[in-house]
């Protein structure tokens, strides 16, 4: 009996202890032990433990969780970098809770402007980020790179690279239909679609059931129709100087994109197709083109029912007499938590990582996770992305519209656009009005 009691007590005690440990452990206290073992033989110099949290799916030989800490340790033996990688949704939740509880990792991944719940502007406004203006790598990144990470004149994040929106096409079908050159303006683009359709080929396939794909086409048109005329369009939305309902801005973009649906150039059942099914159709050679991003390149280059050569061009949303612009956006990048105890160490890591020539940078560029825009690796990008990187280098590209809007505006646009192409009687003017209303609501909050 006594023995039983003792057992029960010890089990209960163990449970309570483990529960408490689970609640109370901060990342540094856990890792202290392992770190001190690592450097047991080394000098008495204090090992600084820097924590970092990023979003994404961990891959074999992952850059952030494996290569990055290893190379940082090699360069700075007394810096111990701990990286946690979480799937997007979990990352957002973890970030919010840790910010709220004041236990945020030293470095976090932020997105440019207003994109996502880890948007740099949202976090900087709340005072969670440390300014990075004294980093020397910012010069290499350039103004185009730092602008989307600037809040009230200070830079709060560094983009790791760029991401592209473009038009993937089937070179074999193009050849078969007698199309020799990539279209260079909107008229030529419509012409190409017309030729394909006449030859009995579905010109474009889109998976609009996952309505976010509507952005892929629309933002490419907007990069040609809105920002070349007014770079400040999105910033001025906040001050009220511009509005979505302004004539010849979004009304034009939306009606241009709608033409593709009206003429049956985009598959008529697109609202019932998922993004994945659309990619499958393209890969199987059932449609000649699809609008998609550099982030889906692997899926779009996968082998399908038919073997064919792929091409990738910026959708020419420009008028005949205008130059073409690309939709090339800054990708996400690291930022430093304002209340971190290791701001100097974090900066040291960023200087080393993003300098464009170090071993760490080379490993990063070679990982092929992002399209790097400067330094080692930028000259040997995937040939598919070449036209876009060139446009970017010539300063003829613009960020993705939703990065300039509070999150949620684009969802309203997608829902309304879906209603329009689904024949619910929604007009272009209704969409711009709804977008403006949503924007006002979101910025007022």
């Amino acid at each position: 009996m006594k023995f039983k009691k003792l057992c029960a007590l010890s089990v209960a005690g163990a449970m309570i202890l483990s529960a408490l440990a689970g609640c109370g452990s901060s990342p540094s206290s856990d890792t202290n032990s392992t770190a001190s073992q690592d450097s047991s033989a080394a000098s008495d110099q204090k090992t600084a433990i820097v924590t970092m949290m990023v979003s994404g799916t961990e891959q074999p030989n992952d850059f952030e969780t494996q290569i990055l800490p290893k190379l940082v340790k090699e360069k700075y033996p007394n810096l111990h970098l701990e990286v946690t990688k979480l799937p997007d949704e979990q990352y957002y939740t973890a970030l919010k809770t840790r910010l709220a509880s004041g236990e945020c990792p030293d470095m976090i991944l932020v997105q440019p402007k207003y994109a996502g719940s880890n948007s740099v502007l949202g976090l900087a406004k709340a005072g969670y980020l440390a300014p990075l203006d004294d980093l020397s790598v910012l010069e290499k990144v350039g103004k185009a790179g730092t602008d989307p990470f600037t809040y009230e004149g200070k830079v709060y994040g560094v983009p790791e690279g760029v991401a592209i929106l473009g038009t993937y096409y089937n070179k074999d079908i193009f050849k078969k239909c007698g199309i020799t050159a990539e279209p260079k303006n909107w008229t030529e683009f419509l012409d190409v679609c017309k030729k394909l359709k006449a030859a009995g080929v579905q010109p474009i396939v889109m998976g609009d059931k996952d309505s976010y794909v509507m952005q892929f086409g629309l933002y490419q048109i907007a990069a040609n129709q809105i920002y070349p005329k007014n770079k400040q369009f999105d910033d001025q939305l906040t001050t009220g100087k511009t509005k979505f309902t302004d004539k010849d801005t979004w009304d034009k973009v939306l009606s241009m994109y709608k033409t593709l649906y009206d003429n049956g150039y985009i598959e008529k059942n697109s609202l019932g197709l998922s993004a994945q099914q659309a990619i499958q159709k393209f890969v199987d050679g059932e449609a000649a083109m699809t609008f998609d991003g550099s982030f889906n390149a692997t899926a779009l280059n996968a082998k399908g029912a038919k073997d064919f050569e792929r091409g990738y061009f910026p959708m020419p949303g420009n008028d005949v007499d205008q130059p073409i612009y690309g939709a090339v956006a800054m990708g996400a990048g690291p930022a430093i938590y304002a209340n971190s105890k290791h701001i100097a160490e974090c900066k040291q890591i960023l200087e080393y990582w993003l300098d464009g020539e170090s071993d760490l940078w080379k490993a990063f560029a070679d990982s092929g996770r992002v399209v790097v825009a400067y330094g080692y690796g930028s000259d040997q990008t995937n040939p598919l992305f070449k036209p876009f990187v060139d446009l970017y280098a010539q300063n003829r590209s613009f960020y993705w519209c939703n990065q300039g809007w509070p999150a949620g505006t684009e969802n309203e646009m997608e829902a309304q656009f879906g209603s329009m192409i689904g024949g619910q009687g929604t007009k272009v003017a209704d969409i711009t009005k709804a977008m403006q209303a949503k924007f006002d609501e979101l910025t007022a909050g």
Binding site: S117, A126, D208, N269, L271, G272, S274, S419
Partner: protein, 304 residues
Amino acid sequence: MEMQKLRRRRLKGSPIFPKKMYAFVIPAFILFLTFWIFPVFQLFYYSFTNFNGINYHFDFIGFKNYFTLFHQGTLINSIKNTLIYTVLIVVGSNVLGLAVAMALNMKLKGKTFFRTCTFLPALFSAIVVGFIWSYVYMPDKGMIASLLELIGMDGSRFNVLGDFTWALYAIAAVEIWKSFGTTMIIYLAGLQTVDESLLEAGKIDGCTEWQLIRKIKLPLISSTITINVVLSVIAGLKAFDYAFIMTNGGPGKATNTLMYTIYKIAFNEQMMGKASAFSVVSFIVIILITISMLIFMNKREVEL
């Protein structure tokens, strides 16, 4: 003498469950309060703010969130969609479940096999089911479209998930397909409690098969019916999975259910305040529906 002893014992508390045992509830109770009750009350608090989930310097804005909800029509649309969905689920999965349960309650060869088959869909997770069915519904090349082609109809016109009228019915059908197995099992258990002698008596008195069902079986399993209906109502009002996996609330806003809209406002648009207000309203709607349902069903049970 004995009575007195008993009374004294009752005053002291039961010997099997002494009063100090209540102390043991405290740990669980504390956990329940901190992780369940307290957050629920916080929801009411946040519904009066413009909290965005990140910035803790938020303002109190009174009933503004509630006013916007009613103004924008999102609330009405979501409630409408949810109610249609719920009615479909309740009717569909119960009628189907009951019919199959009755069929499988008969003396039938391979009964166990059929029972297993019927219950099989319930074993898959919602993600898997949603994924499979989005290929069944796929326009042009999906299963249904191919079958239509096979019998000489135009399969390329079949596009339910992309259709504003049909999308909601299409995802409800999937939920029914997945859930009627569970409903069936509960009905089957209920039907097996029906006393064989009552049925025999009915037969001797000259009841038809329909009269046996209507007058004997259904009244005797009325409590099972209540359970099943309440469970389906709850499942219907909580509808989120298939609207999220199969249609993303689309096309347009045609499959925006209450839960999906809350998710969208909270995690896409990051308006935690507004989402809280939405949750409060849904909470009230759901409570009202459940209470009226229970009152109605309890009355029914007595009548039957």
